[in-house]
Each structure stands twice: as C-alpha cells, then as structure tokens.
Assembly symmetry: C2
Homo-oligomer: 348 residues x 2
DNA sequence: TCTTCGTGTGAGACCGTTCCCACATAACAA
DNA sequence: TTGTTATGTGGGAACGGTCTCACACGAAGA
C-alpha cells in the first residue's frame, strides 16, 4: 500500500534523489547541488531547468544525507522530566515547550520531544544516537543526567531547572523578586497574618520564591513564623487541596487573612478546599499563587498570581542554544526574566 | 568551547565511529557491525572484546548513518494545528501528545513535534525532508495538507480530526454516544429545560456530540428547540464565558435548569460567568461538559463531564502508525473509543 | 602569442553505517 | 582424497547528499 520499500523505482517523491534530477536535467549531481545551495557558479539556463524539475517533481532534499556530510542535523532535543510523569501537557512546562517549538521553526530546527517517565538515561541516550545538535533540559534533571550529556560534548541549555549548576546556561525567572512582590502586595493590602504553602524544597524556584517572600516580611518587621509555613512534597493541585484539608483546623485557629502558595497549582488546590468549606475568597481569605498558568485566570474566583514569562523562557532558551551550536563568540548568560504581578479576583 | 567541529580528533564520544572501535579491537568494521547487530557469526572472544570497548569508550551508534542505509529513520512527526495557535500545552490535545510520546519510546521511535501556527505546508515539508517514517495529524488539518502528505506516500494517522476523510485511518471517540449519555443522564436527573452551547460546526466531534444529544432528547419526546442551542465559533473558555454573558437574559428567561456544552473549556467559561452572577451550581443550574480535561476536576465546583480516553487515543494512533510503517498485513481501522460519563459536583 | 582571469561544469572522495559477497579454516561425511 | 557444511572474518559497494579539485572555455591584459 505505502509504496516506500526497497523497490528503488520511487513511486513517490520521497525517493527522488539529486541524482535523478541531474539525470533528467542532463547535468551532473554536482551542478544540481550547486543550484540548490546557491553556492558556486551556475548558468542561468541550467539553473532554470533544474529548479523547474525540482518544482515539477516535488523533489525534497534528504536531510538525513545532508546531516551525514555536514555533521549537523538541525535537530534539537527537548528533555522534560518531572515527578516521573510525562508533561508535555503540563500547564506550566507545556507553555515553555510551545514557545520552544515556535522559535525552533523560525531558526530552522526540528524538535524531538521526549518525556522519559522512568528518569533513566535512556532518552538522553536516544538523543545522542540521533545526533541532535543540542539539547534543552526542562525542570528537574538529575545531576547524573547532566553529567552524562555534558560528557558527550553536546551543547545544552537548562530551563527552570531544580538547581543552578556551575557553568551551565540556565534560563530562569527572578523568583526571589517575585516572592518579594507578593509580600509587598499583600502587606500593602493590609494583610499581616499570611499563611504559606511552599512547594518542594528540592526545586530552586520554590525555594527562591519563599526566600524573597520571607525576606521582605522580615524586612518590614512582620516575620513569618515557621508554623505558618506548610511544606508541600509535590507542586500539584492535589497536594494543595490535601494540605489545606489536613491543616484546616490549624489554619482557622491561626486567624489568617491570606494565603500564598509558591505555585498556582498548589494555590488552586488549596482554594478549592476552602471554597468547599464555604470560605469567601477574597473577603475572608485572599489567595495568591505563582506562575500564571492559563487556569489561574479561568478559576472562579480567578487567581491573583505572579506571571512567569514562559514564552520568553522558551525563546531565550532556543536562541541561546542556537548560539552555542553555532559556536558564537562571547555568549553571555541570559538575564533572569522579570516576573509580573497579576491582580485578579482572589485578592480584591 | 564545545569540542564538536570538524576537528576529526573526536574530543567527545559523539564523534566515535565504528571504524575507530574496529581499529582498537583489531578487527574490521564489518565484524564490529555484526557484534552490535547480533546478526551473523562472531567468535566469543571478539564479541567480548568489542563490547568491552563500546562500553568503555561510550560508543553510540550514529542513527543518521543507520537511517541513510536502512532507509528508515525511526522518527515520526506529530503535527498539531489548531486555530492558528501552537498547542502542545493544550489541556486536551496535550494529553494526546503525552500518550504518543510515551508509546513512541516503547516502540523505539523518536518524535518530532511541530505546531505550525500559520497552517502552511511548511512543517509538513520539513517532516518530509527529515524523512520521518510516519506522521500523526492531530485535530484540524486542512484537506490540502492531507493531500500533500498523502502525495509523498508517507504513512499517517489522524487523531480527532475535524472531518473523517475516506481511506484515512482516524482515531476518534464515540462522540455521538457520548452526547447520548449526557442527555440520558440529565433527563434521568429530571432535567427538561436544557440549554446547549455547541462548539464549532467545523469540527466533527462537536457536531456528533450535539447530534447524539439531540437525537436522544427527540427520542424521548423532549426535543431541543433551536433557540436553546448557542453556536460557539471557537471551543475556548473565553468563548463560553462571552456567549453566556451575551445571552444571559435569554438564558434566565428560558427557565433552564441545566447546561450542556460540547467541551469542557466552553462549559467552564460559561460556568465562571454564572458563578459571577451568583448562580448556585448545581442547585439552580446543573452543568455538563465533554472531554474531561484536568481542569474539569479541579474547578470549583468540579465539572461533570464525559471522559475521552486521550491516553488510549495516543497509544492507538502510534501502534496503528507503527503497523502502517512496518507494512503489516490486514491492518484494521481502529475501534472508536468508548466515552465514560464522569459525575462530579456540577450536577449533584 | 601567451598568460591570467572569471565562469561553468563534472569526477570522485567522503560522511558512518549495513550488508552482500568472497574467502579461510576446521570438522565431518562420502 | 575430495567434497560439503558450519563458522568466522574482511573488503567494498551502497545510501544521498556536499565539497574539493581539475579542467574547459572565452575574454581580457601583458
């Protein structure tokens, strides 16, 4: 059915080679190659004849063969690991992926996406075998994976990784500043009794958000006590809901007027539980999240949060990677992205 | 910095070839190839020696070169088009993508993901040049894109496409049956005045969901009048919200006790508006959506919906594509997936 | 007239594999 | 002895491009 096998007689355009074009145009393959690449001399008439044939027969140059000789595949790999689950569809990381895909097209890269759920080195291995020109590592990457990749000498860039690693290009948000903004905003609204749910301590961004927040609070003389900070073990909706449920008495007894969660998913989970307890948001409790995932604006009430510029993250990651691949001189570590407070119904 | 260029002296494992291994093992490259592939005869001692070297030097076979000779890249492409926006992160299509990525790994395919926002043929072209073994087309694909792809003779499978196309393998949900289930459920609850927001008529699934719903209602003698059906032009949250807002008077005057939207995003948008109008859900209005995206369960109140088995969709799509690629005999069109009603807070 | 260009072309090596074929050896049957 | 077979190995073509080099030609300069 799919005329594709080893029949040689190219029933479809995919099997059309430069040689065949050359034959039909009555020139050598070198000449055809020259016409296609635009390098070197070619006479007008030959050029026209060849281009005509290419158009007519729908010839597509074979990128595999090209990669073979040029030693550049123009393919890059995106590795996303997160809590043992594939997350192309993740509301936050998926956005970054989208941005990467967009930018990749304009820079003429094709993108392999792999989400290896067992966190082995297998997908990294795979990418190496495919000879990608570079890699983008999103979110939590184990050190051994990074070492492994570095060992192959393939350029790579991290995006919102769980830790900063020396000498590794890392695209991140100004998370500490974001935490500060939340604190400033909530205290400006008059809140003093603020409950906090902090995401996994294993992740850089959650730590910094919390740090910035605490620092500001301490700075204005309203330090956050350890007892009003809940430590989440995952940064999920379910975790937020569950933590709020299990600490409900403590929360009520504390007289808290607001809640800050270090990401939206946790915030929304906590909010859902509170709404089920008929808490009025924001009248009784104001809630602030972090990330500005799509769902934050859709929730009812919509969630005040700090927007992380995921689009810029993806774009920066790819253009940086491109520079590394092209071995540009003077490549600078990218500037951290500026977060922006987005005020919505959950606080006003 | 990245020792990768044309320096030949392979500073890193990526430039290690079978020839180098052969040299070091004191055998020919044919022999090394035999050891790696496991085909043909090789003596124990030679095999051990070669495998040892491969392990030691971290040799990775070059998939590009392999593809060159085998004429199989073991790469597939996923094309996602939707309303001119990239949607790897889309709550519904992203899930399908995730499933595809999972299955791909187990079938030894690498996956190129492209979301061409201008809906041109460019990304399809790109995939052809990269000589993918097959393609998966998700959601709305223009006929000309399909024709174009078919013309190259590359196997492809559609997933939840906007229309069925003759002779094209298409993975879909039993959407009509899903619509029927909603009608049955709502009427069993006693609802007779049901308001409907139908997604774009240009998309197969929305049409069938509506069809199944109307058919059942007519069947039990409670036909849905045209005036209680709103036509959405996009299947987004914003559209649901906006339609509900602009038809609020009509809705209130109609004495409707329930709302059915042909997908979750629209349902959630409409729900958000109603909640803002202090409508009590489900007491005053029961709401049912379709798809069971993650947000549906997270929303407050959580949304009753019909679950589309996106995981199965991705899995089926890939294993079907794999069969087409391997030119298996007797490939059957896959069975439509059975949808499942998920009852949540918005109706009880 | 003889160089020296600028222009246009084709031959063939090469990229890193796979795989077909030729060949070598040892064991065993006729 | 002479096949015949099973086992093990290496040489080299092929995959579809790119790129270097050699060469041919006409025009212009010495």
């Amino acid at each position: 059915m799919w005329e594709r096998s080893h029949t040689k007689k190219w029933g479809c355009s995919m099997e059309l080679t430069i040689k065949e074009i050359a034959l039909r145009a009555g020139v050598s393959k070198s000449t055809v190659s020259r016409v296609i690449s635009g390098k070197g001399y070619t006479s007008m008439e030959v050029r026209d004849r060849v281009l005509q044939l290419i158009e007519e027969l729908q010839y597509k140059p074979n990128a595999v063969a090209r990669a073979m000789v040029s030693q550049r595949t123009h393919n890059i790999g995106v590795l996303i690991y997160r809590q043992h689950h594939p997350i192309a569809s993740h509301p936050f990381y998926g956005k970054i992926l989208d941005a990467i895909l967009m930018t990749a097209a304009s820079l003429n890269y094709s993108v392999f996406v792999t989400t290896d759920h067992d966190m082995s080195l297998r997908s990294a291995d795979f990418m190496m075998e495919k000879r990608v020109d570079g890699l983008i590592l999103i979110s939590r990457l184990q050190q051994n994976v990074i070492d492994y990749i570095a060992n192959f000498g393939v350029p790579y860039v991290m995006v919102n990784g769980s830790t900063d690693v020396d000498g590794v290009m890392h695209i991140v948000n100004q998370d500490e500043e974001g935490g500060r903004k939340v604190a400033e905003y909530l205290t400006d609204l008059g809140h003093r009794q603020i409950f906090v749910i902090a995401g996994p301590q294993t992740h850089r961004s959650h730590n910094l958000r919390l740090k910035g927040f605490k620092k500001y609070m301490a700075g204005i003389g309203v330090p956050i006590s350890a007892s009003s900070i809940l430590q989440a073990s995952t940064s999920t909706f379910g975790e937020g809901y569950e933590l709020m449920r299990s600490h409900w008495e403590q929360f009520r007894a504390g007289g808290f007027t607001s809640l800050f969660a270090t990401n939206d998913m946790i915030a929304l989970g906590a909010m859902k539980f509170m709404l089920e307890q008929s808490v009025r948001i924001p009248e009784q409790v104001a809630v602030v999240g972090f990330d500005d995932i799509d769902f934050a604006a859709m929730f009812s009430p919509s969630l005040t949060t700090v927007r992380v510029n995921t689009e810029e993250m993806g774009t920066q990651a790819l253009s940086l990677l491109d520079k590394l691949i092209r071995q540009e001189a003077n490549i600078e570590n990218p500037k951290q992205l500026v977060p922006k407070l987005i005020v919505r119904q959950s606080t006003k």
